[in-house]
Amino acid sequence: MTGNLWSLGLVVVVAALTFLLGYVGSRRANTTPDFLVARRAIPATRNAAAISGEYLSAASFLGVAGLVLKDGIDALWYPIGFTAGYLAMMLFVAAPLRRSGAYTLPDFAEARLGSANLRRFCTFFVICIGVLYLVPQLQSAGLTLNTITGLPTWLGAVAVTVIVGVNVLGGGMRAITLVQAFQYWGKLFAIAAPTFVLFTVFLASPGNGAKSVDEGGVLRFHQDVEVTTAEQVRVRVVEPMELTAVGTVNGAPADGHALWGPGTYTLGKGTTLSFAEGSPVPVVEGSPTGNEQWLRPQTGGLGGLFETYSLIFATFLGTMGLPHVLVRFYTNPDGKAARRTALHVMYLLGLFYLFPTVLGVISRQYLPQLLVTGKTDAAVLLLPGTMQPNLLGQVLGAIVAAGAFAAFLSTSSGLVVSVAGVVSTDILPGKVRDFRWATVLTGAVAIGLALLLPRGDASLTVAMSFALAASTFCPLLLLGIWWRGLTWVGAMAGMLVGGGLVLTALAVNVVSTLSGWVAPALSTQPALVTVPVAFLTMIMISKLTGRRRPDDVNQILLRLHAPDPLGFMRDRDVQRFGSAEEKPREDSRDSARPWN
């Protein structure tokens, strides 16, 4: 119970600091450009911290360690891809995107291709991706608060929504910038401190040290363990084993001692299994059962190779298509600052991702029971208390819990701002009042869906969001920025085909989860096919509809690529909403900018 109090206390501290920083940031936020793009005055390093804070969602903070625990070395491609996405962003998108002067992604599409239809179409996809990303954030927030403090699940989701909503209502993008930047450093501390302490314990503890993770053969329990499943799960057994099972196994009631031979077993919801020390660990279906496969890369044959490459494709190219990340690049003063922001983000992310990997490896030693239920996302939260069942473990556990809570807050705020920005400027007239209404609307819809929909696998949803972004907005941005021949018809066709294919794959996945039929790799990681198809469609349809090419394409490309000191950049939000107070500031900034 003391541990719960520590956790609850730190979570409240994080929430209070979030409110405070949001309040500080939103003073004097009163114009639409304030709410949409924080007046385009965020310096590169602070914007980079804010982007990293927003980007390191629960999928990174909790998920990466869980994936390493479950899938081993092949899961390391997730952090690599999450970071490399910013290299692609920096090389091809960041500076020209900022110079376009747009304030949302749909606005960029209209600025470049001059079609209101395309703008509405992009609006639809931005809202889709935003909600697809936001709902699992809220659901995991509820689950995490439930795990660490015992509060009811719905309360966590509602708490996150309310905190984020109040901040965003107060100052939009201006309010959340400082909050997200602070939350990056908070999260870095929350994962680094436990990693250092636990890694030292891991290396120092005799007989429980690094050797046993390295051993070949089947993973075994190091002590007596009791596991209760939260929902139905299929596990694979490779070595005959003895255990005690109470509940439902393979559809039949089980009560007491059992002997399992090699094969797969379906465990019903609420089944309790007791294992003795030294007995092999049954592993959730689809993950490596032996240490040898866990330790070695690419043991999954050609199918595994396809999945790895598809993952590389989705994450490298998907990052640049995430609307809530893109909108943060609009807050830089100019193209050069946007480019420097992307570079700094790579540094901050690289620093962060060293730690979840280490925690994932240690969890394999201390928390093998998570492999039975497949709930490996809890590894980071449970590890401190398991390794150090004393005050130190409680404090470390509380720090991790607060970090996870910060992850939910910062990602959700970014998503709410980006969705509300699009809704208020494309569906409503775009005044500050409309932005506030759009925020309330977005929050209400998201919390409603989060409470109604069943909880999906967080890592799967994230993978799908990346694939969707890589197959829709990524080709639009790359071709729009570098190729004069793009037309709005081609862009729309490409996005329809790419997005449609990914949504089909998503539907196949849902069906396979419900029916127990194993989905092919193509549907779990579709990017390797859908991205090239989307690109090809966009190029071919654009060539066919060449006469719809905008007349001023040369002017637009000049604006996108001309260096900042020449002063071709014009901010479209100032043109549309600009206030009397805003314009003098813009001028003084433009003329005072030296070249260096």
Partner: protein, 146 residues
Amino acid sequence: MSRHSGPPGQPDQPQPGERDAWPAVSARKNRRRRVVLADPRGRGRVLRTIIELEEQTSVGEKLIRDLIKQQLKTAFLLGGGTLLLLASLPVLFYLLPGLADVELLGVRLPWVLLGLLPFPLLYGVGYAYRRLAESHEHDFVSSVDR
């Protein structure tokens, strides 16, 4: 929405010296000035080339096309090289399973290759691109400035 018209600027009185320096363009000046006046020092000198850029005359068109080509080439070379380097790893591991047994300071080689090294590599490539892209832009501005 004034998307396709030239960027709206702020009314600004012409400086006496500039009018003398560029008599040929002074007639058009009231319309063009707004585009130009980013840097007070370079006003008169930069003017003509920027008008060429804005109006997409053959010279201006060539200048900006060259810049775009140069930036794209740099991005493709750096990005493609990095992708090739990283994407060769899974195939390498698949074809040479023996690599997994090599140990480096007590840690198996693939774990070092995937868990540690990509991050400095990505930052290094990004840093190189920042330097190159900014120097290209600098050269472009100087060429306009002459």
